[in-house]
């Protein structure tokens, strides 16, 4: 390799370097922020994901007011009590005589963060009997905003866990295939090709159908995520294999071998670290794909079960004609993955550019 030319490629022009760094940093910070929000969903959401306000099915997003019915301005935003009209269950009227200001850190439904910290304090809310449905409610009167945040836990972490699973499996098998070569490489890669050709969607339907009824929805969901992850290992494995194949002939590797290093040592100490950038990029590509896989499965009723929300099963209600034509807010969960995917895409592109510039 031409050292001079490789050096010159490490110093891209100042403008594109800044742009790349900006893109990388906004993507990272955005994703960190989104994940932090969904981890803290219990605190940020005004309600639990399963709280049903049965008097408010398909309620539209609550209107925030600064000016009351008498025309007076208030600095603190407030809402009015809404009641369903007598003859139409999904038509609501505001009661101007019952305003309620937005409160911060009120007490509400109990929640747990990361399975350890438990509390009833929420970031914001309103006192009963008023309700604060920032994104309206579904057919059971469940707050869509709260469910969107909780649903993000399922959708985002499904993608993350499945991608991590894929990457780990790919690293292991691709590393072994690249290191040992020969028959081991042949068998591993043929195996990978089989997995590439498996129609993952039908496999997931079959797996889901065979799961016993008695397992909890969370367990069933984790199993499905594992299957998504297992099915997706082959592409990272091929990438890792390629890196290992080219790196194992490098001088430092040969030198280490000359000093008596075993294959396992070489893999662990010298070769696998070279794959981390590639794997990181691959994960940035896989995560949104697996998030989408989870959303699709849940949309079709094959993902996590009621009452646990995910972006997919929230969107599934919009399949019904009356929901599609009457309740526009039920489509909002479909928009949630968009900025997340854009951020991951931006991250993946930036990482790929960086890798290219370093080679």
């Amino acid at each position: 390799m031409n050292r001079q030319s490789s050096l010159s490629r490490r110093d891209p022009p100042l403008r594109s370097g800044f742009f790349t760094r900006f893109r990388l940093s906004w993507a990272i910070w955005f994703l960190v922020g989104v994940h932090a929000v969904v981890v803290l969903a219990g605190f940020i959401a005004p309600y639990s994901f399963e709280t049903q306000e049965r008097e408010h099915p398909f309620a539209p997003p609550t209107r925030l007011h600064f000016v009351d019915c008498a025309g007076k301005f208030h600095f603190r935003p407030f809402v009015y009590v809404t009641k369903a009209a007598e003859n139409a269950l999904d038509q609501y009227q505001q009661d101007c005589s019952q305003p309620a200001g937005i409160e911060f850190f009120p007490k509400g439904d109990r929640y747990t963060i990361l399975g350890t910290f438990s509390s009833t304090r929420h970031l914001f809310g309103v006192p009963a009997p008023t309700n604060l449905f920032l994104m309206g409610t579904d057919g059971f009167g469940r707050d869509q905003f709260s469910r969107l945040l909780y649903g993000g836990q399922v959708s985002l972490f499904a993608g993350f866990v499945a991608a991590a699973f894929s990457a780990f499996t790919g690293l292991l098998l691709g590393g072994i295939a690249g290191m040992y070569g020969g028959r081991v490489d042949d068998v591993a890669m043929r195996f990978a090709e089989i997995f590439i050709t498996i129609p993952w969607f039908y496999l997931l339907i079959a797996v889901r159908a065979f799961l016993p009824l008695q397992i909890s929805p969370v367990t069933a969901f984790l199993l499905v995520v594992s299957v998504i992850g297992i099915v997706g290992w082959s592409r990272p494995a091929r990438l890792v294999r390629g890196v290992i194949l080219s790196a194992r002939e490098r001088n430092f590797v040969l030198a280490a071998r000359g000093f008596g290093a075993s294959n396992a040592y070489l893999l662990r100490r010298h070769l696998m670290p070279l794959t981390f950038r590639v794997l990181l990029t691959q994960m940035a590509v896989l995560i949104p794909q697996f998030i989408l896989a989870e959303v699709i499965l849940s949309f079709l009723g094959l993902g996590i079960g009621e009452p646990f929300p995910s972006w997919g099963n929230m969107l599934a209600q919009a399949q019904q004609y009356h929901v599609l034509v009457s309740y526009w807010w039920m489509l909002l969960p479909g928009l949630a993955p968009v900025p997340v995917f854009l951020a991951y895409h931006s991250l993946a592109e930036t990482l790929q550019e960086r890798i290219k510039s370093n080679f």
């Binding site: 059971f140 009723g301 079960g305 399949q319 009356h322």
Partner: protein
């Protein structure tokens, strides 16, 4: 010359005279509905097409919808009045002991291919239905207490039916039993091939019936087109031969949402079985799109939560067998029932267009509904009392545990394609959580859900529904009798497993042989009391029958017994201007 003119006139008038004479000789039924106008076509959407046009093999409602327009029966149930009335049998007498029915058939009636109808066709029909080698789906209807109904021809237009014992629903048995054309099917019957006759691709000329319409065209997977039967045996008050419509088309539209869209667009002019949500979505558009929606009140469908009480699970499904100790305790079932918010189900799932249920009989079944049984109101304190009495208790985190300390949790299977039942299951899950019960909803494919309940018994609880075929109690026997084919909570039960099931068996057998309505009603009231107390099924709600039709469709009278919207297709007509095609 003059003679020649007279002869010519006579020759010209002869066919007309013959026709008039034929009509005069025909024993036509004169209807009392509003006289209509001839002409026009009607398109009806159905979820699926019939798999066959052979009445012997047909039992699903979509198939009966089509075949019922092509075939005639001896005595017919008027869906509006829910009472039986003459059809091909113009009158009948019943012996004092209620076992012998002597039917007088209409004279001069012809099949849709012009061939005459008489007692031989009736005899042939019931011979086929009762033949065990044929395995007709109508066979069980004609076997009472293990003995077949006897059918005899008295003369060309008289037939006698002798039931082995007094049978309260005898008249209603005839409804939907299509009279088969002997001239077309006898040969294949004798060759043992009648079960293969009349598949969907049969040329129309080879099919004949006594219904208002006859087959014109089948486009598999798309539509079945029926045309007017020129020999139909009904006339209106003005003497016009029915039906009014020239064509009746059934199109295949698999989902209800797609049916709604096609109805809005005018591709179909009738929509049956609207969900409450779609009804609400369409309500605002009635005037603009010139259709009218109808709420016919609670139908005969009943939705329920069912626990697995089968006794063949030990060793095979030990986890479910363990939980059956809870399910079998009536106090547990009563507690579950007390915890369920039926008013919430009616409100949220059906938008108040349903009736909460205490038993399987809905208020829409005016003749048999026991109004003395109150619908359970949600009461968590009462539910807790019942569970405490049954030995259950609660941990500090409100989790319900059984007497052995095991947390009470179970799965609720529901058909993934039925949105309303999925919603019901979700509401039940939330209601049971308030009691500390961990129920999780498991949507499975519809046939898989049915298979688990009917065959494998691999389920813990299920939310499902049934539709009674008739307002009369008789169709429910299969569900309520211990050895019934759809005794869902305990399939394949040879003898009653509990005293109350034994009482149910006795009462259902007794009502079957009781002719007097008041006495029968008393017996059936007691049946409903037992069901409300013992709760083998926890009855939830019965949805209203919600339908729609183009506003200029005349004689449109929706009913709560199938077919809700076109049970009187022979009387439907278009007020001018004619329906859109």
């Amino acid at each position: 010359m003059r003679l020649r003119r007279l002869l010519f006139l006579y020759a010209a008038l002869l066919p007309l005279l013959a026709g008039l004479q034929a009509i005069a000789q025909e024993d036509l039924l004169r209807t009392t509905s509003e006289p209509g106008i001839r002409g026009g076509k009607l398109v009806i959407a159905q979820r699926s097409e019939p798999r066959t046009l052979n009445p012997i093999l047909t039992v699903d409602q979509n198939s009966l919808g089509v075949l019922g327009r092509m075939m005639g029966d001896l005595i017919h149930i008027n869906r509006a009045t829910q009472k039986s009335e003459p059809a091909l049998a113009k009158s009948w007498t019943v012996s004092k002991d209620g076992t012998v029915f002597t039917l007088k058939l209409r004279r001069g009636i012809r099949f849709s291919d012009g061939q005459p109808f008489d007692a031989d066709d009736v005899l042939f029909t019931f011979k086929v239905y009762l033949d065990e080698q044929v395995h007709s789906l109508q066979h069980d209807l004609l076997v009472i207490s293990g003995k077949s109904v006897k059918v005899e021809k008295l003369d060309v237009y008289s037939v006698r039916f002798t039931f082995p014992s007094p049978y309260s629903a005898a008249e209603r048995v005839f409804d939907g039993l299509a009279i088969l054309p002997r001239h077309l099917l006898e040969k294949d019957y004798q060759a043992g091939k009648i079960g293969q006759d009349w598949p969907l691709n049969t040329p129309p000329a080879q099919i004949a019936g006594l219904g208002a319409f006859r087959l014109k065209q089948v486009i598999p997977g798309d539509r079945i087109v029926l045309e007017r039967n020129p020999y139909y045996w009904k006339v209106d008050a003005k003497g016009q031969r029915l039906p009014y419509l020239d064509e009746l088309t059934f199109v295949v539209v698999p989902t209800q949402d797609a049916q709604v869209i096609r109805f809005q667009a005018g591709d179909s002019q009738i929509i049956s079985s609207l969900s409450a949500d779609n009804y609400a979505a369409l309500e605002a558009e009635q005037k603009a799109r010139h259709f009218k929606l109808y709420d016919a009140g609670p139908g005969l469908e009943y939705n329920f939560l069912l626990f697995n009480l089968n006794d063949d699970l030990e060793g095979r499904l030990p986890e479910i067998a363990r939980k059956q100790k809870w399910f079998r305790d009536v106090r547990f079932r009563q507690a579950i029932s007390a915890a369920i918010d039926r008013a919430g189900i009616v409100r949220l799932v059906y938008r108040n267009r349903a009736a909460a249920l205490a038993t399987h009989v809905s208020p829409g079944n005016r003749a048999w509904f026991n109004s003395a049984i109150p619908v359970p109101i949600r009461s968590l304190p009462h539910a807790r009392e019942l569970l405490t009495a049954a030995g259950f208790s609660w941990k500090s985190d409100n989790t319900l545990v059984d007497p052995t300390g095991q947390p009470v949790e179970f799965s609720i299977v529901v058909s993934s394609s039925n949105a309303q039942r999925n919603q019901i299951a979700t509401l039940v899950q939330a209601d049971l959580k308030a009691l500390g019960i961990g129920a999780h909803v498991v949507p499975v494919e519809g046939r898989s859900a049915s298979d688990r309940v009917l065959n494998t018994h691999d389920y813990e609880a299920v939310v499902m529904g049934l539709v009674s075929g008739d307002a009369d109690p008789t169709p429910d026997m299969n569900v309520l009798l211990s050895n019934g084919q759809t005794h869902l909570w305990h399939m394949d039960e040879k003898t009653p497993a509990t005293p109350w099931e034994a009482e149910l068996d006795q009462l259902m057998a007794k009502q079957l042989g009781t002719i007097n309505y008041q006495q029968r009603k008393k017996i059936y009231d007691r049946v409903q009391e037992i069901l409300a107390q013992q709760l083998p099924m926890i009855y939830l709600a019965s949805p209203n029958i919600l339908v729609g039709a183009q506003e200029n469709l005349g004689n449109f009278h929706p009913a709560i017994i199938e077919q809700y919207t076109f049970w009187n297709a022979d009387e439907l007509f278009w007020h001018p201007p004619a329906g859109k095609q």
